[in-house]
Subunit: 546 residues, 2 copies
Amino acid sequence: MKIAIVQLNTVIGYYKYNTNKIIEYAEKAKEMDCDLVVFSEMAISGYPPRDLLEKRDFVDANLAALEKIVKNIKGIGVICGYVDKNISEIGNPLYNAAVLFENGKIIHKDYKRLLPTYDIFDESRYFEPGTDCSTFEYKGHKIGLTICEDAWNDKEIFKKRIYHVDPVAKMAEEGADLIINISASPFYDGKRAFKTNMLHAISKKYNVSFVYSNQVGGNDSILFDGSSMAFNASGKVAAEASDFEEDIICFDTKNGTGDIKSIPRTDADAIYRALVMGTRDYMTKCGFSKAVIGLSGGIDSALTACVAADALGSKNVFTVFMPSRYTSQNNFEDTRQLAENLGVRYHTIPIDKMFKEYLPYISPGFDEKNPGVTEQNIQARIRGTIVMAISNRDGSMVLSTGNKSESAVGYCTLYGDMNGGLAVISDVPKIRVYELSRFINETEEIIPQRIIDKAPSAELKPDQTDQDDLPSYDVLDAILKGYIEDLKSVDELVDMGYEKSVVMDIIKRVHRNEYKRQQAAPGLKVTSKAFGYGRRYPLAQKYMPE
Amino acid sequence: MKIAIVQLNTVIGYYKYNTNKIIEYAEKAKEMDCDLVVFSEMAISGYPPRDLLEKRDFVDANLAALEKIVKNIKGIGVICGYVDKNISEIGNPLYNAAVLFENGKIIHKDYKRLLPTYDIFDESRYFEPGTDCSTFEYKGHKIGLTICEDAWNDKEIFKKRIYHVDPVAKMAEEGADLIINISASPFYDGKRAFKTNMLHAISKKYNVSFVYSNQVGGNDSILFDGSSMAFNASGKVAAEASDFEEDIICFDTKNGTGDIKSIPRTDADAIYRALVMGTRDYMTKCGFSKAVIGLSGGIDSALTACVAADALGSKNVFTVFMPSRYTSQNNFEDTRQLAENLGVRYHTIPIDKMFKEYLPYISPGFDEKNPGVTEQNIQARIRGTIVMAISNRDGSMVLSTGNKSESAVGYCTLYGDMNGGLAVISDVPKIRVYELSRFINETEEIIPQRIIDKAPSAELKPDQTDQDDLPSYDVLDAILKGYIEDLKSVDELVDMGYEKSVVMDIIKRVHRNEYKRQQAAPGLKVTSKAFGYGRRYPLAQKYMPE
């Protein structure tokens, strides 16, 4: 059997668009002489629709869309994800469902058994788990049809399993020779390798072909990389789609071969492409084409501007430099040079006149040489007001420029530099910001070298640098990764070689600044644990590890 | 058996404080000659700790605290909620647990079977469900020990049940004569009556005594009303604690009588007390004693100031009036009069000088008579910057003043009037704002009558009123309640008597302004569906009901 594996960039709730895409790609699959085309999890509605699932009319529209594609696609088998209703009086009202149909007839249905409810996933909030793990016959194959998490409970891969059932093991036991998995599995740094190894191991262990179709595109914070694949029965990668863009690949179960579109990439390359896709998708799916970015002369806003220019085209990026009395002379030149290199618009709005008008009311005895947090924040908030005014005036979206390290320790001003519709690099730790900047400059100097070389500074008081307050970024980032991504305890962090006082100081800052992050713009998730939707902390709490 | 029912206002993760409270109240229960004292769900850690539960040391500290109270309380039986570990290799890592101990010995344990995963609840994210619904003997009673949701699946009360098991029914079948339920069940308008009727019906149907201990206090957005109760075996309310404060009441199973502390209250009274408690708790649990509030002369900021003065004491409330060129003369007088009536500090900071400094850069051709959204927002953001500067300077928390109706339709400025640590009335619809204001003025005029009577206006352009843009608030609030709380479809809203064009316009505004709400401060939840943590919508989506 020749199987087309499709990865679509759907828009949540945009049924007309999504169904037309599905029909269009089914036609392509037919042109490729395929017998079956496989779309990803909830391809009809887009994933994740979250509480839109609580609206009956949203679910009905998804069923109507399914009916439309069943009617409109002829001459090829189609597997597609959608949302089904649970008509029983007991249980959650919906199923996360997969359907196989051909020539107007539904041949088989399956309901997702394992419902991820951790990190950014809330599936137990909406769905009743399926209980049936049986296989079915189709075109000479005994097929096990699974949905995303259904394949993520192998006892040899996960020492501690969340779920009591392993659908793939059951299907293999029943004699499946082909496992199909339709997914909406988000990207993070390192996930592709993990996923490839896992699917390889499963396929090899059970001696089955494995077809994996994964959603592509950005939906708010969540970035789906696509990277759809097929493995032959000996566990070898037989087909591989590209990442971060729509694709269709073919896999032939007979000879176990298929299209290989993917090219090996560095981590930096993958993350950069993820950010570009996420920025483009968030903005266009929200109806924006233009962005405004405050450039400071620092590396964070420089990287953000590069991502924006790649995502939207230079002509759609407006940069604004907002110097104060504390801005160093270099930054006038460096920001202008960056804007020139990128070919983006550039404007200067000095903030000192506004700043002076606030001071008599707030800080009548203001000492220019030693501004406190109050006066520092006023400057950041004036800048935040200016970028928002430009956004309102031009119909553009503000992209905020803070990185993950500063968001973690609260080295940022709420309602100031945190202002924005999207926090492009808020899940990129500072050390990675440097790495991505060097990656951008690999073939030519886009980011002026001086921006990369200078000591990071908020420039809100004289001669300020980030390291006045914070440990060096390599130490900070390592502790933050340990604490936030790897859930390490204080003792474990100390055992990694960090001083206890430094560890405790950083953890305190992380807790103390939770409130800022809860009011932050959505940020593009590129690590295994980002701030935001997937990390839910109470604000009014007094826990402090010892 | 004499049972003391305790409702504590715990602080999440503040183990020392919570355990001392538990020990102290157990002593009180002994003084009241009780044989058993019942504390609420997860009383040891406080509820909900959310992702703190993912930290091993957080869970270990909770187990150490349990050990401490088991050791320290003698001479009385104690039922208490805590977090237990699931030591199996399979399943979620924790249990939401209840323990009965006496004189240093653990007598019985139960694990919560029904794990709410909807609205603000995420329990399937952390907990493995208990499967055992058996009863146990203690001091002459056959007891069924349940945890919150365990009692919320009665087939006669819920037509559509979420869960497949009804633990209370099973326990009754097994011959329980006493059901104990330890809860952390949040308040919303109307919930107390529903809860009382439900527990009455269950108690009567199974001919069992029913003891219900519920957490009290505010944790971020979530307000727990306490309102603990006991029912005798004929379903009569036999004991009833007060609401919105800590309490201990006694219930005697022998004669089916107990303490009745509660007094009947109007909805407005209950909601007002909920807001006061929620404001006080959020601020004190976050370490704040002082608040700053921008007064506009409108009813929303007036109500917020009243709540704050009641929550924190007048001397801890700083109000600031920030007039612009569009501010009407009445508001100078009305805000001052309100501050005087409340006995709170009052300061005036005009914003026109700052405003003028932004205009040349943003809107060089600015027409004072007809400011657009850009210039209107600049004014709101200057005010937002001023209140935040006062907050930074004085170490106070900004309380934002927007109501639910305006938050729903986006009639507010992000990074402007939305600035704040807590959005006190953001779940109070405008019509209810009026009701609460009249309630406050019942015995004497605290809120100047003119504030209540004037037409609502943002005063960001000449002669502006809310109704320039919006339908009347009774229509708006009814449609919003239908759409957001009751999940009604367009057709159902039209059937309620509203014009389709008005309904569609409002729904569009609700969708379009989701991004503002996702960056809003936490708001105190007083309805069955508040914006914020319990309502999770994607931003980049294109669904629009028809």
